[in-house]
Amino acid sequence: MKIFEYLFMFLVFPGFIFSSTIGLLAGWVDRKLTARVQWRVGPPWYQNFVDVIKLLFYKETLIPVNVSKPIFLGMPLLSLASATIVSTILLVISRFPQAGFLGDLIVVIYLLMIPAIALMLGAFASENPLASLGASREMKLMLAYELPFIISVLVPVIKCGYAIKVGDIITYQSLHGHIIAGASGVISFIVMLLCVQAKLGFAPFDMPEAETEIMAGSYIEYSGKALGVFKLSKAILLFVLPVLMIILYFGGIGFDVETFIKNVAGYLAILAAIVVIKNTNPRVRIDQAVRFFWGPVTALAIISAVLAYFGY
């Protein structure tokens, strides 16, 4: 019964239930750490679960009058589905490196783009001027960060002998040492950290949902279940993007005790870095963000790719 096995993988482990649980816990780490940075106490560990359950089961879902319902309500589901598929692909492949297919790294990069596109389409469909403003900022931000993101993904690809299978990258690193050990690895890791910051929509790149200027931006018309599903997909992204970084730079997720502890420590370190960057930087304007990503960040990414080509 192959189909049930796949369904189990997608829905329970390592797909939807597992990754959303870890993602919501990571969201709590984010909130708690933010509170500690600001010298507050912060919410209890179950806070994000309570929030999402409240939105999913106990709140009314309002639909604006003139919107196209399939797009307005379908986009949260699309976002959740693509985030879940990425987490399934990445975790299954790190357990069985040969399970992938040719070009699954490219599929992962594409699927990681879809939550942002879905948010954009949903916001445009909601016919709210502030939502459109948020969506247009989201689009510009996406154009800005995708370029350095893809170039920095090229570094592991080049260093692993032009492998575009996630499994090959993991196997290469277990034989020849981690990508992060080289100069190119360090530079492209920093670039990717900045791009992940923008992908997650955290400060300083949180202008698509700037609460103080455009009132939650793209999310403004979403309520109840639709908002809850968006929150879940953001939680899954908070889990998946650091995992992608661990796979590309630290040799993948191990399942023996020692590597597993190392992976958890690495994941928490990346999460802490993201949260600290979020808390110590003000929001930048969208033109500043585009200039930042297309200027110095892309230059760094190209330098790292060139270094990787010459074997450093």
Partner: protein, 143 residues
């Protein structure tokens, strides 16, 4: 206390609506989120859009221009939702009771669940008031 009440009381998203206040109450709302009082401990956060909110927090003396907007915002809030009248003006129009441009008090416009008196209310009064609101949510279940 059922699961629904437990969930609703543990996570309260608050939308702040200023209907012509003198800005003093609005500053006091921010005080509740600062390190000394930190309402996020109880899962209370301020949200930007009324469609995310569980509670509508009204400050100010509800002048005539604001009345239709208050009604509209109340209708836009997804239910179950609560209304909190904040400060002397929000509860009863305060010193602006006989003014020409304050039409009617807030509780004649929309149903109010909780009054927090004070000019402005101290953060301690706010926490005590929120406790009363949560008790009220639990009491609904018992009836």
């Amino acid at each position: 206390m059922g699961l629904k009440e437990k969930i609703l009381t543990k996570s309260l998203y608050v939308f702040h609506l200023s209907s012509g206040s003198c800005n003093n109450c609005d500053i006091e709302i921010l005080d509740c989120l600062t390190p000394r009082y930190d309402l996020e401990r109880f899962g209370i956060v301020l949200v930007g859009s009324v469609k995310h909110a569980d509670a509508l927090l009204c400050t100010g003396s509800t002048n005539r221009l604001c009345v239709p907007r208050i009604k509209k915002l109340y209708e836009m809030m997804p239910k179950p939702g609560f209304v909190i009248a904040w400060g002397a003006c929000g509860s009863s129009r305060g010193v602006f009771k006989d003014s020409y441009n304050t039409g009617s008090p807030l509780d004649e416009i929309i149903p109010v669940d909780l009054y927090i008196p004070g000019c402005p209310p101290k953060p301690e009064a706010v926490i005590a008031g929120v406790k009363k609101l949560l008790d009220k949510v639990n009491a609904v279940k018992k009836k």
